[in-house]
Amino acid sequence: MNLAAKDIRHNVGRFLLTTIGIGMLLMVVMGMGGIYRGIVEDATMLVDEVGADLWVVQRDTRGPFAEISRVPSNMVHRVAAVPGVKDAREFLFHTIQREHRGRALRIAILGLSWPTDKGGWVELTEGRALTQSHFEMIADQSLGLRLGERIKLGKENYEVVGITKSMISAAGDGLAFFTVADAQAIQFDTPGEAVRLERAAREIRGANSELGAKLPVLLEQASKSNAEIPALAPPRISAVMASIEAGVNPEEVIANMSGWSDVSVFTRQGQRELLLKGSVEKVKKQIGLFRVLLTIIAAIIMALILYTLTLDKIHTIALLKLIGAPNSRILGLIMQESLFIGVLGYGIAYLLGQRIFPNFPRRVILTNDDLLQLGVIVIVISVLASFLGIWKALRVSPNEALS
């Protein structure tokens, strides 16, 4: 006769409420682990998805994700010419925040190296990749933009032609893919008045300099657009991504570029480590500590619940002792109830999490390893939590059955 099962059946409402409470607590513990996994996944997703073997960034920076990096656009041609490099692409990445439909819209903008990269590698849930060099974009569904919708960024309108799912930046902002030219136009968009003021300032600077006096033709150039003035550098990009030919050791290619004093080169793994050892590591520690605290709290709450349930059964335990029940039978009753609460609570946590976590603003990823680890922790907690109740039960005298 299983006394624990009989007791639970007799007090089913109370046990269910208790188990749901424990389940919700475990769901938070589970969610913490999932949030951490989501942050790691989001941080490294772009590096993994883009699939570049090497990242060429501004010298002595940890760009383009961990910090800002700026390299000239023509860097892509220099990299492409290095022996062992199969192809090189421009990479532009920055985040903007605009008002859209009355709410703040944060977009992580990623420039695709048109026409070599039209976003064919981007996994789409709807729509298509870019088919023209301007005014098209692919947006992640977390941005809330619809297929075919037009959004004004800078001076231009861009049409959403493709939708992705779970393409998030390390900061948790939804990604939008544009051509590099459009991404630069959005990044370096300057109001007309500012352009006019800058051109006037150029003329004044030129008129006041000796060079302007000697070469008046320079002053005539001052009123032209940046793109028409050869002396001004074209807009910069964040990094250059390179793919390496099959069979070539990336370290050899890096060695070939080691003489370039204006750039640093990272492998894909190096870029991942930069991301994970930077801001993500702090988040990892923060969430890890919070998770440990929650686990301890869950253990304490479970122990108190088990202790209270044991107190409610003191008379029954005394009676069992009186009729000669061995301690193992009484301890089994408490331990089984503890495990029942723990295991069922875990199941409730999992089921609730499956429904609730997808609605979180950032991804919550439950991996099998994490679930298994938490399952083992729950069993250990259940056993430990029952010790307080068992300690109390062992101290009960059969005499108490008569009181």
Partner: protein, 233 residues
């Protein structure tokens, strides 16, 4: 009734506290009950009857004196001479003023559990439990939880539980207090029947003077002392 002793106590005493707070609940209490004998222990509240019963029942150890059950020295003063829990399980059946049933077990399960603890298989235990409930007139309530039974029905289930392992001694503390006179009489008759048919030694602590005729011997307890009493005329 045969001449072998089911229970023998020698000079049992129980003292609570010490010094100024010392309370003597029982002193030099000696009593012998043969197999098949039904003994009533009478006396006013606070006279030490329950203390005596819990000492004999191996629940509350005496301060001094000996408890001998079936010829085996079980308690020598506060010292246990054997595994008390095993002894309680095999040799003693208890019935209390309150039925003391396990609230989450049905009537039949409450009887069955004591046999299961004693190593009786589930099938055999259930059959015997049903037989006992039938004998006590509560077979039709076998599947009910204690909360669904009347006080009398609960007490009869408690009696069935006490009899389940065919113990050599049965200790009952005010077993009829919650019953009407008819049911009380039935329970007392049942104790007498169990004692005479199964050879158990039975001690019943009672205030109920209406059914004293069923007892083979009467004892009275006052201020912690036991003395033999005569059947009322």
């Amino acid at each position: 009734m045969n001449d072998s002793l089911a229970i023998a106590t020698e000079g049992l005493s129980k003292i609570y506290g010490s010094g100024n707070t010392e309370v003597v609940a029982m002193q030099d209490a000696s009593l012998q009950v043969k197999h098949g004998e039904v003994v009533a222990l009478l006396g006013p509240s606070g006279s030490g009857k329950s203390t005596f019963l819990t000492a004999v029942g191996l629940i509350n150890p005496p301060t001094a004196g000996q408890v001998i059950i079936n010829g085996e020295l079980v308690m020598d003063g506060p010292r246990a001479m054997t595994s008390l829990r095993r002894f309680r399980r095999r040799e003693i059946g208890y019935v209390f003023q309150k039925s003391n049933l396990i609230p989450f077990l049905t009537a039949v399960e409450n009887v069955q559990i004591v046999m299961e603890i004693n190593g009786v298989g589930a099938g055999a235990g259930r059959r015997r439990a049903m037989e006992l409930l039938d004998e006590l007139g509560v077979r039709d309530r076998a599947a009910n939880l204690p909360s669904m039974l009347s006080g009398g029905q609960q007490q009869r289930v408690a009696v069935a539980r006490a009899l389940a392992n065919q113990p050599s001694i049965i200790l009952a503390d005010e077993p009829t207090a919650a019953l009407d006179s008819g049911r009380g009489r039935q329970v007392m008759d049942l104790f007498a029947q169990v004692a005479h048919e199964h050879g158990a030694g039975v001690i019943v602590v009672t205030h109920d003077h209406r059914a004293l005729d069923v007892f083979d011997s009467l004892y009275e307890m006052e201020d912690g002392l036991i003395k033999r009493s005569e059947h009322p005329a």
